[in-house]
Symmetry: C2
């Protein structure tokens, strides 16, 4: 039994690498793919994860510039690494967001996105749960009101989910990572954010800009 | 496009029920199974989810008695419904837990479980991430130091995961819900807790004890 946390992580990643074998993708995407599988034990994501060209590199640059991360749930906020002092914003449980959603009979997720776009139109948007949030974000991008540094579109479920991902897929100017199909979720969004963050933090050893530890 | 949150939920559950069709289980387990699929869009859980006899009913009784829920991650704590004032405990990010784990070169998850068992030996334990937490909990149960009202054993991954679930499976006196295999995760643990909580909250209409809204 391995109990050392670092050895557990290394052994997990070794098993994943052995299993995915000859899987081919740009080198900056590989740690993201592996961390999603680490978080789900679901190799279906090898087939469904899509990265627009350069999306990970653009997200790394945005993180180095302290670009905020907007999340669709507090559960996602909670899962994102706290090691680097990233600015994470989520209004979904604010009292005034809840009351506005009730009065308009829409999801809190939509109101959260509207407020976040107003404050941070060029943030990193990570949506792991609420397809209505992703749809609203795509609408605001089309209207020219948002220009995110990255959109992570990985909501999960059966209603509006495929539609929301197709809508994001059609926005070809937007750096985007999508888990196509019904699967996805908060742990997937979290794995993507954390993998990109860790890859920035290790890039210092490669002579690149990096995130300082908090 | 459905935007009303309640209609989205109802339609999701209708699609899941249609898809699982003749799937057979005790009636109190069905809402739990469906919410896990709702949270993952992964029908593999139909085959891997195991409930010991009466586990859900025992967990309902425990919740009505305000039994605390111990979690292995703050992400899980964050995802559990806040509607009913449930007591949720997680020490995994406490400074003294982090320093003890470092000095013993073990996971924080283990130290979190040891402290929680000391304070709440008969709590509901929900483990969605850390197999080392589940293994330590099973050891403490075997030693007679813990007698949980329910153990939710659904860690995810490739190292220690199957072993931890097999260990829980062998503790036949313990009310337990297990997702066998490598899959599981924080969202699965969260779905299980929330489904049981919601089923308590609706049981009032069936003349049973219930959880008051906070």
């Amino acid at each position: 039994m391995i109990l050392d946390p670092q050895k557990i992580e290394l052994e997990s990643m070794r098993i994943i690498q052995d299993t995915i074998g000859e899987y081919s993708c740009p080198p900056e995407n590989l740690p993201v793919v592996k961390r999603v599988i680490h978080a789900t034990a679901d190799f279906d994501f090898l087939k469904t994860l899509y990265f627009s060209e350069g999306a990970v590199m653009k997200a790394r640059e945005a993180l180095i510039k302290h670009t905020p991360i907007i999340t669709d749930t507090l559960m996602l906020t909670s899962g994102i690494t706290k090691k680097y002092g990233l600015k994470i914003v989520c209004h979904v449980s604010d009292d005034d967001v809840i009351s506005e959603a009730k009065s308009r009979n829409i999801t809190r997720a939509i109101v959260n996105i509207e407020r976040s776009v107003n404050d941070y139109p060029d943030a990193i948007y990570a949506i792991g749960n609420a397809p209505t949030a992703l749809i609203r974000l795509c609408e605001l991008i089309k209207e020219g009101k948002a220009l995110p540094a990255l959109v992570i579109g990985v909501p999960v479920g059966f209603v509006n989910v495929i539609e929301s991902k197709n809508m994001l897929a059609s926005l070809t100017d937007v750096p985007r990572i999508i888990a196509h199909g019904n699967k996805g979720g908060t742990t997937v969004a979290c794995a993507i954010i954390n993998a990109i963050t860790y890859s920035v933090s290790v890039s210092k050893s490669q002579g690149m800009n990096t995130l300082p530890l908090k």
